[in-house]
Symmetry: C2
Subunit: 345 residues, 2 copies
Amino acid sequence: MITIKEIAKQLNMSTTTVSNVIHDKEGEVSKEKRRIVQEFLDRVDYVPNINARNLAQNESKIIGVALKARADKYENLIMDPFVSELIGGIEETIRNAGYFMMLYISRDTEKIMRHVSTWNVDGLILFGMLDDDGIRVSTKYKKPIVCIDTYSIEGLKHFTNVGLDDEKGTYEMVKYIISCGHEKIAFMSDNTKGVDLARLTGYKRALKEAGIEFKEEDFLKIRPKSDEIDASLEEICRRALDYTAIMCVSDLYAVTLMSALQDRGIRVPEGISIAGFDDNMLGSLYRPALTTVHQDVKKKGVVAAQTLLKLIKGEKTDHQITLPTRLVVRDTVTKPRKSSFYGFR
Amino acid sequence: MITIKEIAKQLNMSTTTVSNVIHDKEGEVSKEKRRIVQEFLDRVDYVPNINARNLAQNESKIIGVALKARADKYENLIMDPFVSELIGGIEETIRNAGYFMMLYISRDTEKIMRHVSTWNVDGLILFGMLDDDGIRVSTKYKKPIVCIDTYSIEGLKHFTNVGLDDEKGTYEMVKYIISCGHEKIAFMSDNTKGVDLARLTGYKRALKEAGIEFKEEDFLKIRPKSDEIDASLEEICRRALDYTAIMCVSDLYAVTLMSALQDRGIRVPEGISIAGFDDNMLGSLYRPALTTVHQDVKKKGVVAAQTLLKLIKGEKTDHQITLPTRLVVRDTVTKPRKSSFYGFR
DNA sequence: TTGTACGCGTTATCAA
DNA sequence: TTGATAACGCGTACAA
């Protein structure tokens, strides 16, 4: 690794001149010297030492991307197509802007914050944070932060969030399900916080509007840990028979449920209608193709990164950026089954 | 951000002492001072500046993970469940070893190498490289490199590769397909290089061993770009009718093909048998559940990272680490259809 | 237009 | 056991 100092020595000039050429400072170095230096630079394939540069300028050109993993889901966090699509969008945007991306996954908010301060990152994108994290984060850290899909009361005062109209998206889907003639509609998820809560709320609103009463038991809770999921699905499939439609909180769960139902001889949509949320390849590749709520996940990542870049530049942005959803009607929601026909084979 | 210098000043001692406490140097600082400094450190929540540390030590604690994107696949590289699972395994291993992960995606090998030299990364994990890249990389770069799934002749001399017995895995699957009674078996992929070539070779070997002749037309080429895939699938589905089984190079393609066939009224496995390769959630969640060749992708990432960490420590490792595959028999390969029954509905 | 010299925060060397 | 100081590579204010 050749240094500026070394180049200056070999060319018999000062480091300032070399540095000026590197940084293309106009009118501060003669044409002749510029040519000589540039040529040399190209020849030896000069690459600056980022650490030295960062140290001198007190900036890092690094954007930290921290994923907070939930204990009960960790094993497959990054396998979730949602997460990978998101990262794809972020990475692309960061890279095109000349920044670098440092990826960090942890269950521990403290560790995440320590990590980003160590690296003196210029900005931070957070995913998977819950309400209480927001407070701890914002008091510790003064650089720009953009959250993705965070619903929090305290947090929003301090930093920007890129999210989705989860409530409305689900509301519209459930309204559509009701319009197909369904009255017994369950909701399936693994928790009732953040995004899941918003979607649950939308589901309840549609129910209420149609004069359908929501009972606690209509919430089907799936336990995604690998040692629990089979038992969990077994129970859900049993309880599913009481409903004619199930609104799933994600495509992943919708597809998981459909497979489990199919394995038990219950056919979708003849026996029961299923709706998802996300619109990723899991649902679009499945047959019957999944009726779902579309969101543009890659765009979510892109917008989050773009917003952060703006904040780094010192521009102001909205505190809440909400991306739209769209109903994608495919084949898994039809009219309710007749009496007790589940499609058993 | 408080610095060592500042701490030393406030505590009225030298930076050396503070630094020694931070680094827990045995017997180099008195019990009393150690206590005082440690207390102060905790109180002000000291976080070291990595740039300064790296500059002083000439190491970065960064491991670069570079994904070389293929032009014709780029749009969904990171969406591929394979890639995200791989990254998950790498990230976890790197993090647990106290290293950091910098993710970089590019189509341009030159850019990738420039990126890693800039950051002075301690080691490099490469994925998606082809033969000719290997040469360019190895001449430019002297730090440890681990490749994943790279088949190259020149490259292997210079750095370690973590791969799979792709040839054998496919061979065994096709042998199994043949044992089910099939004789007209196609192979589907989007290229004939690297991993795909190895799998194609395994397929051909099984065919040959069974006395089945391979013809060029038995290679079904899918074009995965979004503006071509529909036409591509249309043609493949038409040609598929000439076969009783299709060996797909990946689960993604297997599932994509099954959906396309299903949409045209051709049933799997009644009309045609389909096998995949990878064993990811796409195939296991699909119904009928995909018969496929298992590989442990997360482990691939873990092993790659572990190997790189060893190399960084100066230990020797094998130049080629080959992970095993395993046949996963599920529901998409059965005996061949009778005459011309495709399961049209 | 060019060069000198210092600061960035840390670690390491060596003397006290 | 502690402290002063050089070194890491780069950017830049200021002097020449």
